[in-house]
């Protein structure tokens, strides 16, 4: 049924766009929850999970007990579940989706399934139906060579898998074990220097674990467990994945130095743990002979060090925003966060002078303006207790308020338009000033200085 058709029948129909990645994420979450039943859980996208419950069903009484438990949990999540038990994953997959008749045992149930359960391409399924082969049982009676000749080798493979003659193993999801290195002490360690040295050894262990997985850490967390129960966590972040223990220790030292109060060992630490909560793939890199990669890494290391010392909000990159309002055009994001997909900055027209100032005041600074005509360019203005005579100007450049973003969205309350002028005073200082509001929008519009040109 087309969407328009459905809407015609049910006018109140609510629609949402299909989000494949969200579905997939939800399925993965359910799969993680199913670890409760068996360690071998495989995804069967787009909407299935295969659980290998061999030797696990007795924990829930029987297979029936297991099924009741799964259904109850899914119902609590407001999910509709169709369950099927079978000897092979392929048969369970087909029975859960295509079973229409009650059967005595599994073999009969499979033979009663429609040929669509083979999940061949639509043409082959159509061909089977035209040949009068409606169920899997009818097809299984035919010689395999004939089926292969008419419907392709895949039809034979699908049939044999369904009947349990050929097997296809499942790929169970193995939850990633967290990367963790810890050291317990028989006697509490009371010296901070020694604790830091131990942290260095732990960083080397974590680096080895990361290397095994071809991953690098983006965030490292060190926890010092004091013998009186106090836990002191320290967190560092890097702008690119790393597994260099020396770098991790250097950043940890920066973090310790930037703390307001130094780490107090008290009666000593009895456990030190280093974990890597956020990792990213990091292939083994080869250093370039001319040192190109090394240079980038040096800049990244510098950024990490300053982000750790000054705070992550204080070392940032500027990204562009899709708006016309000058003060909202840029956004400063912490550099250690992954760069968002780069939107392009507008390219200036060759031959034009700079039309936007290098420095912007936010909020704009109010100025007193004398203009020769009320809605004309400024003639002279006063800013920070000094008068500036305007010698040259260009404008107005009219920037309307973004009425389409206003909550009331009304045309009769659209916000004030700004008329921007690029002006130069007698000494050559260049300013960006604007009048906030047109004369038919506001009786006595105010003037502001918004930016300073180089």
């Amino acid at each position: 049924m087309a969407l328009a058709d459905a809407r015609a029948r049910v006018p109140m129909l609510e629609t949402a766009e299909h989000d494949e990645s969200a579905d997939r994420a939800w399925l993965e979450q359910l799969a993680d929850g199913c670890i409760h039943y068996t360690p071998l859980v495989a995804l069967d996208p787009p909407h299935g999970l295969i659980l290998d419950v061999s030797g696990c069903a007795h924990l829930f009484g029987s297979e029936r007990g297991l099924a009741v438990h799964v259904e109850a949990r899914m119902a609590a999540l407001r999910m509709t579940a169709r369950l099927a038990f079978a000897d092979t994953p392929r048969a369970a997959h087909a029975l859960a989706r295509y079973q229409a008749f009650v059967a005595r045992d599994e073999a009969t149930a499979i033979r009663k399934l429609p040929v669509a359960a083979l999940e061949l391409d639509p043409e082959a399924t159509q061909g089977l139906l035209r040949a009068g082969l409606k169920s899997v049982g009818e097809l299984a009676k035919r010689p395999m060579a004939g089926i292969a000749a008419r419907f392709g080798a895949q039809a034979v493979t699908a049939l044999r898998e369904l009947l349990g003659e050929a097997s296809r193993p499942i790929e169970p999801r193995i939850p990633a074990t967290p990367i963790l290195a810890e050291r317990r002490f028989a006697e509490p360690v009371a010296r901070t220097e020694y604790a830091i040295a131990v942290l260095g050894e732990l960083a080397a262990e974590a680096a080895w674990q990361l290397e095994q997985r071809h991953e690098g850490g983006r965030r490292f967390k060190a926890c010092f467990f004091r013998s009186d129960g106090l836990i002191r966590p320290l967190m560092i972040e890097t702008s690119r994945p790393t597994r260099d223990p020396a770098l991790v220790i250097r950043l940890m030292n920066e973090r310790i130095e930037s703390l307001n109060d130094p780490i107090d060992p008290g009666f000593g630490f009895d456990l030190i743990r280093l974990s890597v909560p956020v990792t990213e793939p990091l292939a083994v890199t080869q250093l370039k002979l001319e040192g190109g990669a090394a240079k980038e890494a040096e800049v990244a290391a510098l950024i990490d060090r300053l982000s750790t010392r000054l705070g992550r909000e204080r070392v940032c990159r500027l990204v562009t925003q899709d708006t016309h309002i000058p003060e909202q055009m840029q956004l400063a994001l912490p550099f250690v966060e992954a760069a968002p997909p780069a939107a392009k900055w507008p390219v200036p027209t060759p031959g034009e002078p700079p039309l936007r100032p290098l420095h912007l005041f936010d909020p704009p600074q109010p100025i007193e303006v004398m203009a020769s005509v009320p809605d004309g360019p400024p003639h002279r203005f006063r800013w920070r207790r000094k008068f500036h005579e305007v010698r040259r100007f260009e404008g107005p450049e009219r920037i309307a308020s973004e009425w389409w973003k206003r909550r009331d969205g009304a045309v009769d309350n659209a916000g004030l338009t700004r008329d921007y002028y690029r002006v130069e005073d007698a000494r050559g200082r260049r300013f960006w000033v604007f009048r906030h509001g047109l004369f038919d929008e506001k009786p006595n519009p105010k003037w502001y200085l918004h930016g300073l040109f180089a």
């Binding site: 100032p357 040109f453 180089a454």
Partner: protein, 262 residues
């Protein structure tokens, strides 16, 4: 005996250091501005791996000095290297915050800009010293407001040494400050000057009047007028603005410091 050999070694080391330190900078170790007479006076441009101090000519010329620093840093960094811009918290309050579309209008790429903001002058200088030690950088701008007593001769010498070893060119912007003795290679006063009028008497590209206040290895006190060409990312001599004095033929510029009538 032992003592003597140690002394000799130390002397040899000193000799070597003085030879290495005084070696002439070759062409690619200079940042050519594009302004012919200025480059000629500086033996090819501003030296890379050195500290250059920039002072506004008057209190209101802060934006010009900042703009000049951004432009010369663009020339120093080239296409493939990021520009590191360090400032302190009070910069945003007093001079406005850096506006990326304005940097685009000067020919820069905000994507290749790393902004660092230090809470106070001490943290600013410490971060600046760290950044100056990073050989991956080519251009570093340190925006320093006010008198900044932390930036004494020792701190300035530390920055100069770090820059020399790593090859980072450091532009030290001293806003609302008076020149004091420092270890910088050159010291400039940057002032603004009326731009070349375009059609309908509108303001043209940025124009500066800069004065070389001090230079470690050469004469100082000269003045030049520069116009920024955004499309080529280069400085130019202003085209017949009327205030230009032609260069006397056959006389070296450096030997006869001349002044432009402003």
């Amino acid at each position: 005996m032992m003592r003597e050999s140690v002394d000799q070694l130390a002397m040899l080391r000193r000799n070597l250091a003085s030879i290495a330190g005084n070696r002439l900078l070759s062409g690619d170790q200079r940042i050519a501005t594009g302004h012919l007479t200025l480059d000629a006076a500086l033996d090819g441009g501003l030296a890379r791996g050195r500290v250059h101090e920039l002072f506004p000519a008057e209190a209101d010329d802060g934006p010009s000095a900042t703009g000049f620093a951004a432009m010369i840093a663009l020339r120093a960094a080239g296409r493939d290297s990021p520009i590191f811009w360090l400032s302190s918290d009070q910069a945003g309050r007093r001079g406005g915050r850096l506006h990326a579309p304005g940097l685009v209008e000067l020919g820069g790429d905000p994507g290749a800009l790393v902004l660092g903001q230090a809470p106070d002058a001490k943290a600013l200088l410490r971060s600046a010293a760290d950044a100056a030690r990073c050989p991956g950088l080519k251009a570093l701008i340190v925006e320093c407001w006010g008198k900044c007593p932390e930036l004494d001769l020792t701190a300035s010498r530390r920055l100069a040494l770090a820059a020399e070893q790593s090859g980072v060119t450091l532009f030290l912007l001293r806003l609302e400050a008076e020149p004091l003795p420092s270890a910088a290679d050159t010291r400039w006063s940057v002032g603004t000057t009326p731009s070349r009028p375009l059609e309908a008497d509108s303001p043209g590209p940025p124009m500066f009047e800069i004065e070389l206040l001090r230079r470690r290895s050469g004469p100082s006190g000269m003045r030049w007028r520069l116009e920024w060409d955004r499309d080529q990312i280069i400085f130019r001599e202003p085209a017949n603005s009327g205030a230009m004095v032609s260069l006397p033929a056959g006389r070296p510029v450096a030997a006869d410091p001349w002044r432009l009538s402003a």
